[in-house]
Symmetry: D2
Subunit: 305 residues, 4 copies
């Protein structure tokens, strides 16, 4: 097995788009890179790039062509500093509209990441939160590939090509495949969170810098429309849109198409399987596009065709 490649970017992007590659790798290579936080600050506290969610990349993966998929295995997400930050107010989006009259200011709040204990806690806990010591549960907030049709999609949002999905499940042990729309796929990565609830309803996770290790592999001829992934025990699809109903429609339709093409199920069979065994998880409900994840346990699947 080849050594991992260390990728140290000199510039960062606030859009996912076709642009000159910062790194060129072979399919199957492992890349290690240190990400900036959502505000563009690095692990040394230096402001290196602008909001929102500056991305390391793009990485050109040799052999990737439109119509393929790019598989991203998340191997490690290690903390690169001892602090993270959040916003001090819930998003008005997730509350009854009139309740927004009560919301506090969106202040910046500091959290401590204890690498030894593998925990995350408020630097100055508010009353009642003195014992809120969360496990370090790192995730990649924003990653994906260049979109189709010459689009440049803000790292504040997401679409078919991935982007700022803010789903807790994008963590070590998970692999995700994105639809390739341009030669080399052009992979982008950043915006790690040390912890985050479902929905990213405060508008942030615990925003920090991480050392991320991923393996990037071209899946030749695997044509997909939305991100698909798997963990040890389930397969999943991702839809990004508003309202959440539409994100759910995209994710569910992608799952149905997957079950039909790869597992040979009929439309009726997908109704039986998904109707009684599907699981949904909420990615973000804060960004311009919301995110819904649709999954099925592998134990319920027939053998692949």
């Amino acid at each position: 097995m080849k050594d991992a490649l260390r990728f140290e970017p000199l510039a960062w992007s606030n859009v996912l788009t076709e642009m000159p590659a910062a790194l060129r790798i072979a399919s199957g290579d492992i890349v290690i890179t240190e990400t900036l936080d959502a505000a563009g600050v690095n692990a040394r506290g230096e402001k290196k790039a602008d909001r929102p969610n500056p991305m390391n990349g793009p990485i050109f993966v040799e052999g990737a062509e439109p119509g393929d998929a790019l598989r991203v295995e998340i191997l490690k997400i290690d903390p690169a500093r001892d602090t993270g930050w959040t916003s001090a107010a819930l998003s008005a989006n997730v509350l009854d509209p009139e309740y927004a009259r009560n919301l506090p200011p969106r202040d910046h709040v500091e959290w401590i990441i204890d690498r030894q204990a593998s925990t995350v806690k408020l630097e100055k806990p508010l009353p009642g939160l003195e014992n809120l010591i969360l496990p370090y549960a790192p995730m990649i907030g924003c990653f994906g590939v260049a979109p189709s049709g010459g689009q440049a999609i803000s790292t504040a949002s997401s679409s078919n090509n991935g982007g700022n999905m803010d789903y807790r499940g994008f963590t070590v042990g998970c692999s995700v495949s994105f639809p390739v729309s341009v030669p080399g796929a052009l992979f982008f990565l950043g915006d790690c969170h040390a912890a985050q609830g479902d929905g990213e309803i405060a508008g942030t996770g615990v925003e920090t810098c991480c050392n991320v290790e991923v393996r990037l592999t071209v899946e030749k001829g695997r044509t997909i429309r939305w991100p698909r992934g798997e963990t040890q025990d389930r397969i999943f699809t991702v839809g990004n849109a508003r309202p959440l109903d539409q994100a759910l429609q995209h994710a569910t339709t992608e799952m149905v198409m997957w079950l039909k093409s790869d597992y040979g199920l009929s439309d009726a069979a997908t109704a039986h399987l998904l109707g009684q065994a599907v699981r949904y998880e909420v990615g973000n409900v804060f960004n311009p596009a919301y995110t819904m994840v649709c999954s099925v346990a592998k134990k319920w699947l027939p053998p692949k065709l």
Copy 2:
């Protein structure tokens, strides 16, 4: 402890509303009752009532007054027959709109409930589903109390007062509190499923008849706006509305209000806690009102005030 009361209804209701009580009990009493399936068929295969989701009830709980809550502890949901049924098509609601062109007919499909093995499986498995043997995971699809303002809400839908929420988590070990709007609360119950995926996306769970045992307790002076519940390790709130975004807003706002009033958290503290630790689960995305559940692990909560 008193013996459980067996409730054998002579009539069933297709709305939740203020109407003459079928049973009158004391707060804290345990009731056992056998439910009809969603089509009104009983455990002997006899059609006893009409669709949708005929309800056992209402049960008048002494002492319950508007402004109180009625706590429902789910103690048992045992199968009352060996069969269940589902629909053979996913709901067009949960798929990309144009995909509905591909949907198969909404045929009636039979499932076998194996009480010995505690499993649920298709009577005639379609190709690829030969090994789909799901655990018996019973839940109450539709339950709640009479709504406010003289409303009569169809058992096809749901609202503040509960109703047809089709949430997998309404199972043994869970307790749910509903806001009381009329004297006696007037509790209704029915529509059990032997298994169901998130979202009830085929429009049905495995529809069957169950023997359900619940304890009903008046919570004097506990004024709530939406259903609140708990399990051994978490507290949760329920929102019912369309789109799913609005259901999520109701559930989240109810959780914020609960954390403020009972646990003394400020609005900023609720942002820290929920922002980094909230969980969402999808109830139904099929009925006129969709259902979203918002929960927090008890381990993250401060002591109650």
Copy 3:
């Protein structure tokens, strides 16, 4: 032609439902009745009933049976007093969620209805509104018939059976047909506005009492699913739901079904006609169910079958 019947209710309802009739009339009769305002106050300033939107009715129309429609011709809506009132804040529903932080209190504001001049203006105009003298443009905010399945639907909301739609077009010269679900149809009426913008985005029109004259006619065997109506130059359908997208879906589907059954158009022909000639209008975007109206000019229609 028979004289109009004057209907003076002794009680009012806050739900549309099957209940004992307050008046029984023949199909084709004209009824004149004075409505309360949305808060239950009459033209003499007396509080007679409770919020929301107390209804005159129900009126039993002889011969109406489930499967028929009840046609309501709006003949007159005359002011019954010289004042109306509104709320002093826009609904948070219609603004960007974070903007709700800026909203003023929902104070009660008085307006003057000048019957001579046929105008409506603020009693105490705020700076910049000194010359805001609107035409008296009366409309019925809430009307409809008893819903199906034993439901009782709050006069705060609306559904297939009509209800609180708050559409400016429900005015003199318009006729609306509602689907009959119970014997006699059971017609309800109230909540008149002296003026209102699209959407009822302050949560009120200029709420007042009116003398309303309507002709109620049974349309035997005309089975419809959502309200249908017409004016001198167009036909329209009404959908009530959230989000607005779903209200639009209901209204559009009802229009397609009407064009197919009564005008003999194919699905492709409805696409040509509606695609290039349809008009949409926004009823309320404030109530639990939003309202969208879909219309086509009569000049584009083929002869009825």
Copy 4:
């Protein structure tokens, strides 16, 4: 007054983004240009560019800087050929989800544009549509400026910067201002329709090529967030998003901010004015972002500050 500049593009764009200008003009210049149809075909029937909606442009307007607005006065939209085309099926988006099972194929349908008579009609009318002869009512389907933050937004969709809004009101006599995000504003234009119903619910208007004449003027220091426009008798704002509720929120909030900053109204005064006098119109309900227009008659406005 200067002569109009004729702009004959050599290339077309399927995104609105910052890119090298095809033409550079002074603020206040008038430009005449012939557009391609939505499929990239020109007035001579030659396929010149790809779907969706290839744009003429961008045009760099001297003096335009971020924080300014670019005002576009629509002076002429003359037909450049005698045919247009539509789709033969309504969008599944605008129908009840299950109804999509009935939809016909999305065939290509030809229409005739009669320049003499100024009418638009089907080449081969389906039964019942023999007399459907619509007025030629041209509009610009897609236009706007480069978006902020390095985004490239597909001409299939729309956002703050305009784009594919498909609003019937974008016609001669209307002027629209877009928020400038890059030096020169970079204006794009295309996708004209000879006629279209509200919502573009067949997924197309009558797609054709037009000679469009616009005057482009920099409004220095006029900072806006969403498109704002005016006609002879009203001012309007535009919101683009899904669901339609969110588009309406954007448009309404932009109108409130306009009324406050330019007309000196308080938040309460905007509630009185808009609550009783606002009008909404539906742009597209087909594209990834839907469009809602919010307007007020000028006669109700106080003098500008």
